[in-house]
């Protein structure tokens, strides 16, 4: 019984809690964070349950109001959406747990709106993943975006301006997507994704279809921070509060990448995408330029959050490059990287939150080896996440790169292979730079002995999610064969 309605329950959980939080928040302020944790925890449990039930008995389609498509709107819980839902809800749960102590510090008095907005954003993200309707997707896209703009604005002094810039670029992107949907609707007369996938091959040569595809890729590309439409991202992630960055960075761009997967591989199919122009190659090239650009810019940063933001630009490139390869290995690599990057980035942004909590800054040039003494567990987690970002075995990051590399070789695409390898090296440059500072005494400094620091680790509620994610990277690394086995089954061709 519950299985068939599960997709709706996940979305409804967030609706319910986004109402509950303001109500309770007016009465008892200290309840808002536990409520948000409960909400996201419930959603995470449901998504784990849903994914298991997907593995056992196949996709779940839920028709709202009992109206079957193409008349009604449906939620589709299939392999692709189920996987994404699982990843984002579990990560969001951990991030919200982590925000307990740092939230009141970074945005005092704004806890209630923060958590209510976080629930709304999660509603939007889950809706985007689950919906089986292209216009419905636009609505959820805007729900999540509006909530994200507001979340980002709850931050440092510069945050509202960064949020406004994101709003303008993001809304323009969303509108282009809507225009694309309009084109497709005029051609096919349907908005349902499954319906449309069946109809599109009849209109393969239609200019309107190609124009629609380009408009959608550009529109979603803005949200996914696909190069060169990434301009909004660094400022937004840097000036937002730590918990916001930790929430939005691992989730927001991934969900946008999801719809690119859905459109390019499931609705259009790769033959149709490339029917008129080699669009998949263009997307792939943009992604690889983004990978290199993001990595190089990350090296140039001295502020850890900004560095992580640029690294996000680069990492999203891996995902989209894997998509553009359109072969099973590239697909599995890209999806595995969705999981890996969500875990790594959430972990790294949490660490930057931990440091901001204790040190009040995340300026890399001020890091020194006292950190190792003061925050041994945070730094151990950082080391694991950093090594995984560089892509060394047996950590998770290695395996997504391995599958991506196999995908590029399969297609004989040596340029992309070189990009993956070079960017791994660039990653190594900007992460080992920090590791060097944290684990070694500064050779030019006067003091001979390592700087003394009393152990001053962050509280358990912050440390536990950080370490769980870091441990997760090791577990994912060793279990990747199981995960990739599932992912390869999802591949549509």
């Amino acid at each position: 019984m519950i299985e068939t309605q599960l997709p709706a329950y996940i979305a409804l959980t967030f609706v319910l809690f986004s109402v509950l939080i303001p109500l309770f928040g007016m009465w008892k302020k200290e309840w808002v964070q536990p409520l948000a944790v409960a909400g996201s925890g419930l959603a995470a449990t449901l998504s784990i349950y849903g994914f298991i039930s997907y593995l056992n008995s196949g996709p779940i389609r839920y028709f709202f109001g009992g109206w079957e498509p193409p008349i009604g709107i449906e939620f589709v819980y299939d392999g692709l959406s189920g996987f994404f839902v699982l990843v984002i809800n579990v990560v969001a749960f951990l991030v919200l747990v982590h925000s307990r102590k740092i939230g009141p510090l970074e945005f005092p008095g704004k806890e209630m709106p923060y958590y209510a907005l976080a629930m709304l954003a999660m509603l939007g993200f889950n809706g985007m993943l689950l919906t089986g309707d292209l216009f419905n997707f636009y609505v959820f896209l805007e729900i999540s975006s509006l909530a994200s703009y507001a979340l980002i604005a709850i931050g440092e002094k510069q945050a509202p301006y960064a949020a406004l810039r994101y709003l303008i670029i993001g809304t323009a992107g969303g509108t282009l997507y809507l225009l694309g949907v309009g084109f497709l609707y005029t051609v096919t007369g349907t908005l349902n994704m499954i319906d449309m996938a069946a109809m599109l091959p009849m209109y393969a040569e239609s200019t309107a279809v190609v124009a629609a595809l380009i408009l959608m890729i550009v529109g979603i590309g803005v949200k996914a921070a696909l190069f060169p439409m990434h301009g909004w991202l660094p400022d937004s992630y840097t000036y937002a509060a730590s918990s916001t960055s930790a929430l939005i960075a691992p989730i927001g761009t991934k969900v946008a990448a999801y719809i690119l997967f859905r459109i390019m591989l499931f609705i259009f199919g790769i033959e149709l995408v490339d029917a008129v122009a080699p669009l998949s190659t263009i997307v792939g090239v943009l992604a690889s330029v983004g990978i290199l650009y993001g990595s190089i810019m990350a090296i140039a940063q001295t502020e850890m959050k900004r560095m992580l933001a640029y690294s996000s630009v680069s990492q999203i490139g891996y995902i989209i490059m894997g998509l553009s390869l359109a072969n099973p290995f590239g697909f599995a690599g890209a999806l595995l990287h969705v999981l890996n990057h969500a875990v790594m980035k959430a972990c790294l942004f949490m660490i930057s939150g931990n440091l901001r909590m204790k040190e009040g800054h995340t300026d890399i040039s001020l890091f020194d080896d006292s950190y190792r003494k003061k925050y041994p567990w945070t730094m151990a987690s950082f080391t694991i996440a950093a090594i995984s970002m560089v892509g060394l075995p047996p950590l998770a990051g290695f395996f997504s790169k391995w599958y991506l590399a196999l995908g590029t070789i399969d297609n004989g695409n040596w340029l992309f292979l070189a990009v993956i390898l070079i960017s791994s090296l660039l990653n190594a440059v900007y992460f080992f730079r920090i590791l060097e500072k944290v684990y070694m005494k500064n050779p030019s400094s006067e003091q001979k002995e390592p700087s003394d620091g009393v152990r001053n680790e962050v509280s358990f509620s912050m440390l536990a999610p950080t370490s769980i994610l870091a441990m997760g990277l090791i577990v994912i690394g060793f279990m990747n064969a199981v995960i990739v086995g599932i992912l390869l089954d999802i591949f549509p061709l």
Binding site: F135, Y138, V139, E142, L146, Y149, A150, A153, K157, Q158, P160, Y161, A163, L164, L167, I168, T171, A172, T175, L178, L179, G182, Y185, T186, L191
Partner: protein, 122 residues
């Protein structure tokens, strides 16, 4: 050729509006003007949806006993219009958030000119 332009005049207006909106977003320095450009941009897409659903000599989708149900050409397609109701709501909400942010920016920096803001931040 002329037919092509005249026959699609509604779309050409859409395109012109789209360009006006885009111009506002890209080139206006005043953030409120930028936001207005954004709004025009959105409205152009709304108008596009409305125009694709329009038909000559057709009526709204309420059953009229004088027109048989199977004469589809005589009824309008209601879906694009309803979709646009939602899109308009989204647009209004976006404007609301944008103006809230603008107020916050004005309170913090005392200006809403992009160039001055950038100077201020750096």
């Amino acid at each position: 050729m002329i037919d092509f332009f005249l026959g699609h005049y509604a779309y050409w207006f859409t395109v012109i509006l789209l360009c006006v909106g885009l111009y506002g977003i890209l080139f206006k320095k005043n953030l409120i003007k930028k936001t207005i450009g954004l709004s025009i941009f959105q409205v152009s897409v709304v108008l596009f949806f409305v125009s694709i659903a329009s038909k000559w000599d057709a009526t709204v989708t309420v059953r009229d006993s004088s027109i048989p149900v199977d004469q589809v050409a005589n009824y309008l397609n209601p879906l694009p219009h309803t979709l646009m109701l939602t899109a308009i709501v989204v647009g209004v909400a976006t404007l609301g958030v944008a103006f809230t942010l603008l107020i916050a920016i004005y309170n913090r920096y005392g200006t809403i000119d992009e160039q001055e803001l950038l100077d201020e931040i750096q």
